[in-house]
Structures are given as structure tokens and as C-alpha cells.
Amino acid sequence: MEPVIVTKNLNLYYGHFQALKDVCLSIGERRVTSIIGPSGCGKSTLLRVFNRMNDLVEGAGVTGEVLLDGEDIYRPETDLLRLRKKVGMVFQRPNPFPISVFENIVFGLRIHHLYRRNKEMLHGIAQESLEAVLLWDELKDKLGRLATHLSLEQQQRLCIARLLAVKPEVLLMDEPCSALDPLSTGRIEELMQELKKNYTIVIVTHNMQQAGRVSDETGFMLLGELVEFGPTERIFTAPGDKRTEEYITGRWG
């Protein structure tokens, strides 16, 4: 199986602070990979390497290689806009724009001029995206409603739909359920299993049970280091590293 994302000796610095240390991992296509670890261990930073959102942080610097479909995304000639279209992100707090549901979904399409003023096509993609996040039936008559008036779960689904509309290949999820209640969390997790059929998913979570439920591979991070990476089942039943074992058995963290 060809991996979609491979990092080789990845180091990331914020000024003098080294946030990622020599990270080597490979993420398989159409699988869910979770990154777990205590707060401040660099898991969100790692996630933001894959769409180069860290570029926005002043003083951030990267060494090593990050290959996406075999191409190093940190080469100077990388087209950042294409990269981010291909590698989308779902954030910790649902963050729809305070405009209508419909306008939220087609935001990316307008940005990328993918619509050519064709209203039907816009509407078709909006429907497709909402169906993909299982929101169409709930919202098909409420497309003109203000997105910020939806429930938090609906908002987060909408954010995922907004992302799917630009046809990404990889979905990065940065603790996508941390603002949601357990029931909503469960439904989003089901959605992830559904999305996995078409997309490669990388999820950062501080919730170990969640990682166990949703992911095929798991990586455990500590102080910027990727301590262990492997099939989720093995990581949780037979961790190879003492620190991983201590973390997942809840001795600290």
C-alpha cells in the first residue's frame, strides 16, 4: 500500500524552541490515523505541518522532508494554495462563518472559481457535500439560515461539508469533537468511518478512547517526539515503549 503522507527526520522550530523532533511516520491512503499525547506535545503542530498552516506562525522553521504523494511539500516551488485545497482541515471549535449555511458550503468554491456562475452546479455540490456529512435531510429547507444558529454538532458537520466541497484528498482533524457532547461525538465518529471510504484522515485527539474507536494507526507523541507509531490495536494492547504504556494505562497525562 502506497502511503499518502511520509515524513522523514522532520524537525520543527518556533524560534529557538524545538516543537517537533525527528519525526518519521507514514500515513496510509483511506485510513484513519490518530495522533495522541498530552497537551503541548506537538500533535497539533504536526498536523499543521501537513497543510503548512505553521507557515503563519512567525519564526517557524522546518527541516527534513514531508512527502505528499511522493512530493516534498516544503520545497520552495510548492503551490501552497493547491496543497491546502488537497489537504483540508477541520478545527477544534466549529467555526462556520456567520453567513448562511449555503454560503458557507460554497465558500471554497467561490475562492477557487470552480463554479463559473453556474447556480445549479453550486447547488449540486452543496447538496453532495451536505449529504456526505449526513446533514442534507436536516438542512435542505434551511440553507438560508445563519450557520452560527445551528447546533454545535451541525456546525462541525457543516465545517466538514465546507471542506469536502473543494474536493480534498486528506482531511486533517484537530480535536474535532472537543467542543461536542458525547452523543454528538459518537455521531461524528461514525461519520469519520463513512468518510474513510473516500478520504485519508489524520485526527489529533487527547481522548484515547476516541483514538481506539476510530483509527487504524495511532501515533503517540511526547515532548515533540513521536514515541511510537503503529496499528492502533497493537499500540493499545501491546505498546512497545514504556512511556506509551504508562500514558495509555493512565498513569499520567
Binding site: 503563519l56 467555526n95 462563518f97
Partner: protein, 283 residues
């Protein structure tokens, strides 16, 4: 004599309340006096006719039109310029020496007395650019004066748009310019509008900047081009009050009332816009 903390608290509360009421007093008196003396002058004729007999009779139409022209001109000049500067400063500019100097300059521009703006306009627009005493010169001078108000309020509006909006937009593959245009500006617009209207309201009431650059003492006709001189309400009020003998009080107060009403109306519009959008926004 010693007070208990409870009594001290009560006294302090009373003093603070009194201070607030004293602030209210001049506002009340100004509005009362102007209304009482000026309301009698307000009529359709007063608002739509030329002044007659050395401004002692007739209406104030040219002054109203002049003020309207000046304010519009100032807006057309200052809004785009101020908005662009604000966008640069809040979205693009880093923290380097040049940008610090720019920010300092804006703060200082806001503190320059308005009569100095008048002299500046005279030197630059009237004389150097040879626009003469004209609506163009006056508008530009007023525009420069309200520029810091517009820049500052626009910057505040832009910076109050949550960072997450920018992040989402960029993460969807938008350029920074697209992000500003689609994800930031629309949500900052109410704030920008409010600040702009407040700035324009100030421009409408200023006398000193138009004194040397546009204002006509007595010009009973409507302006026909940008290079015409024009009458304007604040200057007209000054002239009526100090330069023309034997003007009926109600004409003076009527003029003041019209000016006050225009400025008040603008401020109310600003407040209405702000509260409308505040009730809609939720982030």
C-alpha cells in the same frame, strides 16, 4: 471624623453619579436652548431658499448643499484611502520600524488641531496644487482630517474579526487577499461603516478646516462644479453670529439646529447600524 466603609461607599457612589449628571447637563442645555430659539425658524422656505437681504432673511439652502458636497467629497477621498491603509496595517504589516512610524503618525494626525488642517489645506490644495478656494480643496482638507478616525476605527473593526475566520479561509486554499476580501472584510464592514459615519459627522461640523479652503461668506447660488466656492453650515453660522449685524436670533439658532440635526442623524445612523449587526453576530 471617620466614616464606616458602608457610608464611604455611599458617598463615593454619590460623587460618581453627580459627575455623570454634570456631564449630561451641557448636552441638555445646548439642545434645549437651540431647540427653543431655533425651532421657530424652521420652515420649508428656510430649508429650500436662498438667503436674502444680506442673510437676514430667506433660507440657508446653499449652506446645506455646500455642507453635503463637502462631506461627500471628504468621504470619497478618505474612505478608500483610510480603508486600504487600515487593511495594510492590520492584515499585512509586521512590526518593523516603518510600520511603527506609520502608526505613530496616525495617532498624531488625530491630535492635530483643526485650524492647522485648515492652514495645511490652504498651503497644499489651494496654493500648491492651485485648486483655489473650492469644494475640491475643502473636501480634501476635511478628508485628511477624518483620515485617522477612519483608519483607527477600520483597524479596530478588522482586528475584531476572529482569527479563526482567517485560518479557515487560508486552510481552504484561499490567498491572503481572498481571505481579506471574503472572510474578513464582510464581517468588519459594520464597524468600518460606524467609524466612517462618526468621522463624517465630525467633518460636517468643523469650521476651521473649511475657513481658508472653500467657505464663501455670502454666495446665494448653488455650486455647479468642484472648483466653485460654496457656503457651509458651520461657517455660515459663524458669519451670522459675528459678522452680520442685526440678524434675527431665530435665524442663527435655526441654522445651528439644522447643523445639529444633520450631525445627530448621522450618529444615530451609526448607532443603528452597529446595534443591528451586533444583534446578528455571534462568535
Amino acid at each position: 471624623m471617620m466614616f464606616t466603609p458602608r457610608v464611604t461607599q455611599k458617598i463615593a457612589f454619590g460623587v460618581l453619579l453627580a459627575a455623570s449628571l454634570v456631564v449630561l447637563l451641557p448636552v441638555g442645555v445646548v439642545v434645549f436652548v437651540i431647540l427653543k430659539n431655533g425651532l421657530g425658524a424652521i420652515s420649508w422656505e428656510f430649508l429650500t431658499e436662498m438667503p436674502r437681504s444680506g442673510m437676514r432673511e430667506g433660507g440657508i439652502l446653499p449652506a446645506i448643499v455646500g455642507t453635503f458636497c463637502l462631506v461627500t467629497g471628504a468621504l470619497l477621498f478618505a474612505l478608500p484611502l483610510g480603508l486600504f491603509a487600515a487593511i495594510y496595517l492590520s492584515e499585512y504589516a509586521g512590526d518593523n520600524r516603518l510600520n511603527r512610524v506609520i502608526r505613530l503618525a496616525i495617532v498624531n494626525l488625530a491630535g492635530v488641531p483643526s485650524v492647522v488642517f485648515g492652514l495645511f489645506g490652504l498651503a497644499l490644495f489651494v496654493n500648491f496644487f492651485r485648486f483655489g478656494a473650492s469644494i475640491l480643496s475643502g473636501s480634501l482638507t476635511l478628508g485628511v482630517m477624518i483620515l485617522p478616525v477612519i483608519i483607527t476605527s477600520s483597524r479596530e473593526a478588522l482586528e475584531s474579526v476572529p482569527k479563526s475566520f482567517r485560518e479557515v479561509s487560508l486552510s481552504l486554499g484561499a490567498t491572503r487577499l481572498q481571505t481579506i476580501k471574503h472572510a474578513v472584510l464582510p464581517h468588519a464592514l459594520p464597524g468600518i461603516l460606524t467609524g466612517t459615519i462618526l468621522g463624517v459627522g465630525r467633518a460636517a461640523g468643523e469650521t476651521a478646516p473649511i475657513l481658508f479652503t472653500v467657505a464663501a461668506f455670502y454666495l446665494p447660488k448653488l455650486p455647479t462644479s468642484l472648483f466653485d466656492q460654496a457656503m457651509a453650515l458651520p461657517y455660515h453660522l459663524y458669519v451670522l453670529s459675528t459678522q452680520v449685524p442685526n440678524v434675527e436670533a431665530k435665524i442663527r439658532y435655526g441654522t445651528a439646529l439644522v447643523l445639529l440635526a444633520i450631525v445627530l442623524l448621522m450618529n444615530l445612523t451609526a448607532i443603528a447600524i452597529r446595534s443591528y449587526f451586533r444583534s446578528r453576530k455571534k462568535w
